[in-house]
Amino acid sequence: MRELLQHIINGVSQGAIYSLIALGYTMVYGVLKLINFAHGDVFMIGSMVGWYASARWTSEAQNPSIIGALGITALAMATCGLLGFVIERLAYRPLRKAPKINSLITAIGVSFFLEYGGQWLFGPNPRFFRVLPPHPAMTVAGLSIGYVDVVTIATSLLLMIVLQRIVFHSRMGTAMRAVSWNPDVAALMGINIDLVISFTFVLGSVLAGAAGILYASKYPSVHPLMGLMPGLKAFVAAVLGGIGNVPGAMLGGLLLGLAEQLVAGYGSSSWRDAVAFAILILILLVKPSGLLGRTTAEKV
């Protein structure tokens, strides 16, 4: 029982990171019907900026503080937000009216650009990452809860509450949802589609930036290809929850993190990656619209 709870805590913490990345996939899919395969690399840039800010530009990594960690996270989020804005503006907007496959291939191109551009700038070797002050694991009722896991879960929860407020209770969120249902009609309501799409990219990328810092705190090694696997997993999470559905991405990420931890804990850790893709295949076979996805019928 204690072992199970331990796996659940680890799974939730891992899943929270997947959820944060998956939200970017799902929101962009919602407004543009595009799978932004460069999203995992935006997440990588978040970690990268964190490393530069803590180890290269300052000596924060030698003596981390909470204030410093907050500042570095804010910087990573802002940089990723800007990057998301630029990617949409330069790579996707010119292709808005082109066939979807062109945008998809462009997304893969942007992904390669960031990965190999990163290797050129940063070198292929992983670097040690530290922004959180070291802190012993807490023991609650015989369970050991890592400091990083607490921080990860708390930060993700906070960000998701803020996101929920934005998406469901703000003018911009209303506009985002309207665009995701029907962009043509949304425009006729007076909604500026270009602005909404830019905003969506920024919002998703900001979350990826935060995820980058959290992930690197958990697995403290950053390198330019680190976005690949978490990016794919988060994509699976988004599909699992129902692509285009915001609560779905949160749920999908959580379930995926849990599934991975449980399989790694009770089975073998080499099955960890396999389980994610098995889930993808299964969901596409059984319920392609995802757990919370809806299929809508149109009235004539």
Binding site: R171, T174, A175, A178, W181, N182, D184, V185, A187, L188, M189, G190, I191, N192, I193, D194, R294, T296, A297, E298, K299, V300
Partner: protein, 237 residues
């Protein structure tokens, strides 16, 4: 009478297809103007060009004296040019009330919005009964009413209506046309696209007949109703 909308030599292409070929017509303030014509004549395309959903390849569109050809729809909504699109375009997952409020997206005068919502409900009492229901559960006629009521929430000066009678029972169509006249009498200029030429010309001050992307005939609603060619081609005689 002041001219509110004026199209001059408008061309629209869909790729290689030349959909509108030099369309010119005008709409005076306070009028109901209708475009009639067969399927594929370019009626919907004309509306889409006016509301900014399509960019004309040639020609000018003047609205309230300013050239608006190529402006994005949201800019035009802000200037009081609203379009209730073909197929109604309601948001099926949102409630009736949420759909109406989206129509007032650009407005921030909460009290006036509430007043306009009440006006919309007075115009279409059935929408009030269903205010909390998802719009996707409405019947076709009710969805059309919602589409019109929602467009009115932006306080339009010019309202574009695309086939409000499409797929509706005759009595429902009549109700909707009666309300279109009411809206017009309250001061909203209306540009109406219709397949039901008889009904449309019956309420229109002016009508234009479109054929393969050009205006082939025009006149007052009554003149067109009496015209032998029109009676033959569009009124089934």
């Amino acid at each position: 009478m002041t001219v509110l909308l004026e199209l001059a030599n408008i061309d629209v292409h869909y790729g290689a297809i030349h959909a509108l070929r030099g369309i010119s017509f005008s709409v005076a303030e306070g009028e109901i103007v209708t475009l009639i014509g067969a399927n594929g004549a370019g009626k919907t395309t004309t509306l889409r060009a006016v509301s900014g959903m399509l960019k004309p390849t040639n020609g000018s569109i003047k609205y309230s004296g300013a050239d608006i050809a190529g402006l994005k729809p949201h800019k035009l909504v802000a200037r009081g040019l609203c379009h209730a699109p073909e197929g109604r375009g309601i948001f099926p997952n949102l409630t009736v009330r949420e759909n109406l409020l989206l129509g007032a997206f650009l407005r921030r005068d909460t009290q006036e919005i509430a007043k306009d919502e009440a006006k919309g409900f007075a115009l279409f009492p059935v929408l009030k009964e269903r205010a909390a229901q998802p719009a996707g559960t409405l019947s076709g006629g009710e969805q059309q009413m919602l589409a019109i009521a929602r467009a009115l929430m932006a306080r339009p000066k010019l309202l574009l209506l695309d086939e409000p009678s499409l797929g509706l029972a005759p009595q429902v169509t009549e109700t909707i046309f009666r309300i279109i006249e009411e809206i017009n009498k309250a001061g909203v200029t209306i540009l109406l696209v219709e397949q039901n030429a008889h009904l449309a010309l019956g309420i229109a001050h002016h009508g234009y007949v479109l054929e393969t992307g050009t205006v082939v005939q025009s006149g007052t609603g009554q003149e067109l109703l009496k015209s032998p060619e029109i009676r033959k081609a569009y009124l089934g005689e």
